[in-house]
Amino acid sequence: MSEKKATSAKFYVHDLDLFYGSFQALKKINFQIAANRITALIGPSGCGKSTFLKTLNRMNDFVEGCKITGDVQLDGRDIYTSGMSEIELRQRVGMVFQQPNPFPKTIYDNVAYGPRIRGVHRKSELDEIVETSLREVGIWDEFKDRLNKSALGLSGGQQQRLCIARTIAVHPEVILMDEPTSALDPISTMKIEDLAVEMKEKYTIVIVTHNMQQANRISDTTAFFLLGELIESGPTQDIFLNPQNKKTEEYITGRFG
């Protein structure tokens, strides 16, 4: 594997092929993900967006029969072959899932989970991490009086923001979001979109979405996937105003199918 230095790219993906058994879900993907930007992955259902996202923090390792070839580099280091542990990788590349999935624990313990498994146990230190994480996602005032209540009692939107707070509590560099708002109402969706825009100062964000307006509103770069191939990618405005590929145009204008 060549350790090519990708310029300011956070992630550098080169000739990535991914197979689920004999089915090829990703075909020769070449893509770079810029640091401190929001990158949106769009495309019809089943085109491989989630699959691609999960290669970035090796969550595909849990899928039996999943085989990956090609380079995936994080800051110039291959995440599959350089000996980087999944543990380290996933701390640096956090994930927010489609369905809010808080642990059946208290709000506090949800946010403190990540720091705790990395050996932070001092109460004062944990308190501070919990507070700053919740503040960062703008739910500290909402939650500060019920930190010891179960997270399962929260609304979907609150749960999702808690999950984001839980993710940033371990200070990741990249946050992967797989349709984080598809299970939420418009107001919660808007809050999370605003949050993502604020967060890109500190984090690199990759977001999968089926919502064209959402991709248009918040992302800097958009990548269009189709049947396992990356058809087109570029600055979001260009993709939406002036797509080069006919299929991209059909998809974003809703004439796809």
Binding site: L89, F97, N101, F103
Partner: protein
């Protein structure tokens, strides 16, 4: 074909079954209470004597005047069952975790059916194998006069309750949503951390229910224990000592005693205590379940 008459008959039948299900255990409880009470009312023993003294010498006649201390049997049951639990629970949890988290494919295809086979084996078979294999084995390894002992009873019971605790625990672990595991893995947790910090706490309530069901089964088991425990009506001298339990004393004496005699009344009292203990276990399971449900709100 649908018909009003048929539906009515069905409804009646289902209702009848439901009522029977409620009535039967209550009837059994009343029956045992009445029978067991004879020891206190007819033969004038006290509850204190029954629970806290150790001489069990009741007369097999209608006059009475014997000694009715059941402490040995109560303690015997507690010790043997406690020991069984101590042995079975770690193995059960390890097996359940293995077949769900570590080797799920293998677990569902081979281990699970294998464990389920154990559940169906009649207790007399366990006792018999315990008697012919385990007892001589303990005798040789620890240079005992006899291998019949509390330890033998505990091991046999442990083997008997291991499968039921394991299957309940495995089901509970499997019921923990994958999404919770993925959330933890996504934060960089190791498999061990996910298992013991996320999966086990979430499965805890149901696992505990399985443990109590196992304990209830252990308390109620007579035959297999009787075959390996030595049936000595005294407190055991350590885990290699012999003793008797509530169920073994009933199983070994019930046939020979005269109905209505003081001694028989004593056995009924023990049976009634066993009934109360199983009620207590059921009660406990419900409390735990209710608490678990509240926690997950």
């Amino acid at each position: 074909m649908y018909s009003k008459g048929k539906e009515k008959t069905w409804k009646f039948f289902v209702l009848l079954c439901g009522l029977l299900m409620i009535a039967l255990p209550i009837a059994i409880g009343i029956f045992l209470a009445v029978k067991g009470n004879a020891l206190f009312y007819q033969y004038h023993h006290t509850l204190g004597e029954f629970l806290f003294t150790t001489t069990w010498k009741l007369k097999d006649d209608l006059v009475g005047g014997g000694k009715g201390g059941a402490a040995v049997f109560i303690v015997g049951s507690l010790i043997v069952c406690g020991l069984a639990l101590l042995i079975a629970v770690p193995f059960s949890l390890a097996a359940a975790i293995f077949m769900t988290e570590i080797a799920p494919k293998w677990g569902t295809k081979i281990l699970r059916p294998a464990v389920e086979i154990f559940v169906g084996i009649p207790s007399v078979v366990y006792g018999w194998i315990g008697m012919t294999v385990l007892v001589p084995f303990l005798q040789n390894v620890f240079h005992l006069k006899t291998g019949r002992s509390v330890l033998a009873g505990g091991i046999v019971l442990a083997v008997m309750i291991f499968p039921s605790i394991t299957t309940v625990a495995a089901d509970a672990i499997r019921a923990v949503p994958v999404s919770a595991r993925m959330a933890a893995y996504g934060l960089g947790a190791t498999r061990w951390q996910v298992t013991h910090q996320i999966v086990m706490p979430a499965a805890q309530t149901s696992v505990l229910t399985g443990v109590i069901l196992g304990l209830a089964r252990a308390f109620g088991e007579a035959l297999a224990v009787a075959m390996v425990i030595g049936k000595t009506p005294a407190f055991p001298k350590g885990i290699f000592g012999q003793t008797a339990t509530m169920t073994t004393v009933i199983a070994s004496r019930m046939a020979e005693l005269m109905e209505g005699s003081e001694a028989k009344a004593g056995l009924w009292t023990i049976a009634f205590i066993l009934y109360l203990i199983s009620l207590f276990f059921i009660f406990l399971i419900h409390i735990i379940a209710a608490k678990g449900a509240k926690k997950n709100k």
